[in-house]
Amino acid sequence: MKYIEPHGHMVSRTTDDYQKIAQAGCEILCEPAFWAGFDRTSPEGFYDYYCQLTEYEPKRAAKFGIQHYTWLCINPKEAEDAEFAREVMQIIPDFLDKPNVLGIGEIGLNKNTKNELAIFEEHVELAKKYDLPILIHTPHLEDKLKGTRLILDALKNAQVDPARVVIDHVEEHTIQSVLNAGFWAGMTLYPESKCSGARAIDMLEMYGMEQVWMNSACDWGISDPLAVIKCALEMKQRQYNAQMVEKVIYENPKDFLQQCPNFSI
């Protein structure tokens, strides 16, 4: 069945993974800029990374018939050094007119620090300046509840249009506040942290199927690039019909992404 992978870090995955997700029905993949597992030591390192996301990776995906899009930012794990982050952010506008750039992301918080929050707010202003949608990373584990609250407060203060913002990695204790505020919610299907397929379907049952998507966020850690399609199969086991499954794994992400000027099917 066809589906969109709205969040995958393919720079960390093998070409075999592209083959597998293409065979599983993935037609479009979106890759937010993120932490590479280590801190980069210069803005030039990010320049090369943005070139990889906007030039090389789309070609790699195209070999398997997958449209590749990207989101650009400096991720929150490397935003603790605010001056360094600001140097990197000066590069970003040079890439915003690349044809596969969707918007600003994945920005957000990691350990909920003052510097992370300042850089997050500056990214939001950058998105507003260029009239671009935003993809947001919420912190891990014990930091998620607080981080989500800080992010929602900051977005309220920034007066962004919530319909153009997706807040990712929601779990049972954060999804309701995200949806109630009018934002989109992303559920990340991870083998260890974040959310399982079964729990994601539970959240669909409890909070509805509007303004939500599912993603694998597959990266260099323990993660599964086929997580979305496996969850779709689990939805069928739970007696969801094909139309409902397609809404969650294809129509919903398509609806959100169509707000991005460069997105087309």
């Binding site: 794990k77 603790e80 990691n110 350990k111 909920n112 620090t113 003052k114 510097n115 992370e116 929050l117 912190p139 891990h140 584990l141 014990e142 930091d143 998620k144 509840l145 607080k146 609250r149 800080l150 779990e171 049972e172 204790h173 942290s193 079964a198 729990r199 539970d202 049952e205 409890m206 086991q237 739970r238 007696q239 969801y240």
Partner: protein, 91 residues
């Protein structure tokens, strides 16, 4: 939701039974080994209690999340680490 309670049990009982035994074995393993467990052990036990008796108005899953979450309001001055423990650090 078309699936019934019976359907849900048919789909998830064995898997959940397996995970329950994994939790029990993890706690037994901790009991058996030398040294002192850190703050994560009492946090885990508290989360188990929260699961069994969730506060009114929230689900068991939400109760576990809340039990393992930082409930402070203000951003911290500076990060001392990049990763997370899974439970709120208490020295």
């Amino acid at each position: 939701m078309k699936a019934t309670k019976q359907d849900i049990q048919n789909l998830y009982f064995m898997d959940s039974r397996h995970k329950l035994l994994d939790i029990a074995a993890f706690l037994d393993r901790l009991d058996r080994h030398n040294g002192e467990a850190d703050f994560r052990h009492p946090a885990f036990m508290k989360a188990l209690e929260a699961m069994q008796s969730p506060p009114k108005g929230i689900t068991r899953t939400q109760a576990v999340h809340h039990s393992l979450s930082d409930h402070s309001d203000e951003p911290i001055e500076k990060a001392t680490m990049q990763s997370a423990y899974g439970a709120v650090y208490e020295s």
